[in-house]
Point group: none
Chain length 225, copies 4
């Protein structure tokens, strides 16, 4: 083993531990919330010592913040905001992609499945991390949606109806995550269990929202004339 691979291995090993901690922390935080989650459990799942969190991240709160950033980053990497929609696509098509992408991120299975729950918790029980999260991640995302809806409604993007409609779209997407236990108890069939389920849900939300906005839009045009 030469010097370079030697150093690289050290770095990599450190990074591996960090990564394990980040992912274990993601799981535990999303299951139990910030306060209820224990550093012990996180370290245990990461196969590390109790002191590992403090060594690598300083304290529990910093770890949490890193987890949030990491999660958002990974989720957006896997599902870009508009998926593979071309720049030239119609706003209706873009809306469909936006919704499908958002739902995909929210219901993604696999190593990052906790991303959605983490965000939900942050809404109900905001920590210091939320402010920066909203400004750095959520606002840019919202602005894309506002642009799409402004096109559909044929309004300026700052019109209140645009924002309200955007929230109506978003609300339908996050609902199935935020209220999962309730939906599951009332009508389990609607909870998406796989990619197909997500697509079906996305189709409903897209249809519902487009129908609503077409109604709005015609009223708008009526007013304008």
């Amino acid at each position: 083993m030469n010097v370079r691979s030697f150093l690289a291995d050290g770095k990599e090993h450190q990074d591996a531990t960090r990564r394990h901690l980040l992912e274990a922390a993601g799981e535990v935080f999303s299951e139990l919330g910030f306060r209820n989650a224990t550093v012990r459990e996180i370290c245990h799942r990461a196969g590390a010592n109790v002191a590992a969190v403090n060594y690598h991240f300083g304290d529990k709160e910093t770890l949490y913040l890193e987890v949030l950033r990491h999660a958002h980053h990974k989720a957006l990497e896997k599902y870009p905001l508009l998926l593979d929609a071309p720049e030239s696509a119609s706003p209706e098509e873009k809306l469909k992609c936006f919704i499908l992408s958002l739902l995909s991120r929210i219901f993604d299975k696999g190593p990052n499945s906790w991303h959605g729950r983490l965000m939900s918790r942050e809404m109900i029980e905001p920590t210091h991390a939320l402010d920066s999260l909203v400004q750095e991640r959520i606002r840019p995302m919202s602005e894309v949606l506002w642009g799409i809806i402004a096109e559909i409604l044929d309004c300026p993007p700052t019109d209140e109806r645009v924002v309200a409609s955007a929230f109506s779209v978003l609300s339908q997407c996050v609902f199935y995550k935020h209220c999962r236990p309730c939906v599951g108890s009332l009508f389990p069939g609607l909870l998406p269990e796989n990619e197909k389920g997500v697509a079906r849900l996305a189709a409903h939300i897209t249809d519902f929202s487009l129908a609503a906005m077409r109604g709005f839009s015609s009223k708008n045009r009526g007013k304008k004339r």
Copy 2:
């Protein structure tokens, strides 16, 4: 003072303590969540002894369950499901009342303002209390909504589109509560601060949803023919 009135007074005093505990617990649980809330803080706000919770309710979890029941009961007492809509009202009118009532319960200020937050938490971080809550309180409420929407869509109430549309309606209502900090940061103007704000929000959600369902409905009829 004779023995009877003495006992009666004791009973009343006991009931008063129970009630104070319930309301203090409502506040604290809604502010901090189940785990983060401390029995000490609850007893302190209720003007009771540290041991009062264990004495009156057995343990913290039982108290929490009682608080949830109490909250839902009081909230529905204040805002009936369809408010004062007559039995003969049109389904559109009923939907409007349903939405206004739900939003009013969610955003109610005053001694029971914690009801909404409590329910939100229960969604994100379900406790054992949720199951019975859904079956006893939420299902009946949902069935009323399904009936209204089935009329509007001209479908049987078991049609999946009815349920999906009902969820689309509900989602818009709870969104502003569940994601309050996010909405507040992105577009504070939409967060209802008073009764008028609630009415405005209810109007938007009603308009949006009715427009959507009219679109659905016309498609339905189109398909049927």
Copy 3:
């Protein structure tokens, strides 16, 4: 047992625990210093639970402050500043009593023997407690000494020679405590082991200091004329 004795017993029991904690803490703090002392050890010696300190005193630091106050109070109660010297005694006689009293407090055996060590530590490693201790306890004591020395030197009490001489007196008293291990190693015979040893040491310090001040005083008078 009637109600009164019932209540009194409760109070007394609480006070007993507090007292045990205070005295155990006195021992442990004086042996190990503030930081090195552990709440666990204190509670163990007091026959109480690990959480007893936090319950009765809030935290370790508050306990420490209470210990310092308690110690000083008890020590002065046992050995008043000038012992039993009458108001009319000569300043030389008063100085002798002052020194004997101070040394007695410093070298007191028994349940409060830790008072002296505690003060020594506070000098080397001051905590937040020192400021108030100096102002509330040590300054009044110093002012008495300044008065006595001013009489002996025939100076106003604010004269720098008075203060300097007072420190020279005090320094000799605390030396045998502060540097005990050093003195014990170099010349064990001077370390007072009992009341008699304290009296002998007090006699030396008094003689030494009076001789010094007589020399000063004659110089003063020489200067004045």
Copy 4:
């Protein structure tokens, strides 16, 4: 670069690290005491690795011992016991030099200013290091003082009055260090801030002590006759 100079360089680098560790440790130990000082902080200030202390000194305690030796050596190198007093000087003159030298060491500023504080701590909170320190360093120093005082008092150096007077002299010197926070709070003017202040303090202690011993001496002579 040949092998020899390579090794020499390695040696030098190693020595430099050792020296940096010793001096950083001196600062940190004197500021925080043995237990409160952390190996991490020491290594950080020395610009060395966390494991450097264990590598170079075995453990924290051994490092501490080395620091004490190093400190005493450097301090005596800078201020010899009797400064530049000639062998033929009068005992009074020698006493003056001894006191000035001791105070200078105690209040020395600069890279070794921690020597005094370190010794003070060692008195209050003795470690294993103290025994050898007393025998190797402090006893020789004391013996010089005893010789001087024996001459002044005209007694054999083993007379108890000699030892007691020597302690009276020493006590006044260390007092302003040991009780610095207390003196500073009661009468800040006496705390020496620079060389001149040290000289003034030395003058007072010398005057006070010589006056005292002159009184003793005359009593002695009286007894002898």
